[in-house]
Point group: C2
Amino acid sequence: MTIIPAFLSLLSLFGPVVSHEHYGTTLLPRSDDTTPGASFSYVGMTGPLNWYSLDRQANALCATGRNQSPTNLASDTNLSSSCSIVLDIPNAPEGALLENLGVAVDVFTNGTLTQRNVTSELVQFHFHTPSEHSVNGMHYPMEVHFVFQASDASVSVVGFFIDFGELDTLLEPIVAGLPDIPSHGNTTTTGPLDFSSILDHFCSNSIYQYSGSLTTPPCSEGVSWIISSEPIRIDVPSYDAFRQLLGFNARYIQNAIGEINLLENIARQLQGSD
Amino acid sequence: MTIIPAFLSLLSLFGPVVSHEHYGTTLLPRSDDTTPGASFSYVGMTGPLNWYSLDRQANALCATGRNQSPTNLASDTNLSSSCSIVLDIPNAPEGALLENLGVAVDVFTNGTLTQRNVTSELVQFHFHTPSEHSVNGMHYPMEVHFVFQASDASVSVVGFFIDFGELDTLLEPIVAGLPDIPSHGNTTTTGPLDFSSILDHFCSNSIYQYSGSLTTPPCSEGVSWIISSEPIRIDVPSYDAFRQLLGFNARYIQNAIGEINLLENIARQLQGSD
């Protein structure tokens, strides 16, 4: 896992990193294990409707940000060519670290994303069931997010929807590793990872692009989203393996970019009625 | 469709009914087409986080009710036998009315639910993608709700999760009718409906029971929920047909029964930070 030092150094821009789980999906790590709100979930008082309260200062944008993700994508707008973006993720013949973070399953390997002459490093990729983004109001069974960070700390996420069909080559060794990580904190090493098919898929399909946020606390904005318009594929048994392990781990669809945060809105509405 | 007069008379307890869509999933009809908030959706300013604002008086419980549905069900609690509940839905050899209500697909046929010597009449049944309820944090691809109303207007809903597998006998003619109702307001008549397998399924599996609410505006409480612990089955192509037609139409998981409404909570939290 020679890539770990590389991304640790990137992430150390934000403070000391004490374990994988502090940057698994939140990306921007919390400084230590005792930070209030370091743990979140997808339901109830620790779920997306209350992430703000878990740490009012750090997570303020979760309830007040107006450029929040995920969003509903419209199939007839925002589509652009993927040609100007270079996604380079070397195959990992030795496999990669696979970790159960409780709120997600993350894979740690190296790679780069280059757009407009800026190169970002792959931090990890992880999975959501169901998809976080929707297209014309329709969700997919899953979504995978490749999280990249540039040297100025700016974040880009390349997302692929995952729909039913023949199991994608890349996903196969990851699915095979899931039984080894039944609990939060478990890690294993996957079989060899072959990124050629997903990179081909990215190149040969148009993309949605917008500026949004992390979909987990602290919901930081300025995240460059790049989402392939066509899903990759998973078979039902493999989907079941992810679903049983992850449960539901998708933030609800946010208001349209630029519009009032839905939580700030309901707070105003309820205040108005007092 | 001889059952329509029967349930119209039930529903007329709540005011004049002008078209199916006023009671499709909301059950409790609005009085006329011009009522503010008569239309809702599952995203953005007309979505679940803002149903309250669509009609502050009628929909108050959507943001303040503390017995709201759907909830997360825990597999090790609340399970009880289905033996004391008699679900009787006669086969419909002539088929049944199938309607695209925009926010759901409803089937209108007759039937009864009897528990504790109270008999309720089936109003309709309808479908959600993905499931509204979750079990231990896991959602199913779909959920079907059979909505019953007693003469005192109290509402009971019998729900079945729908997971992947061989297409259920009951679902087959409904799926076959979906291409005939591509748009909101479209209706068709299904092929013959056979309820025997789903009734057997209900009888032979334990159930979750709790008192919750309608999962659509006006989010009325006091709804008796009865949910089969074991899913019925759908194949992937049929799921796709529902998903393409319905899009995402599941309300988010509410706070635990008796706990503060998540929307009232965030409003208080944001007020507290002013």
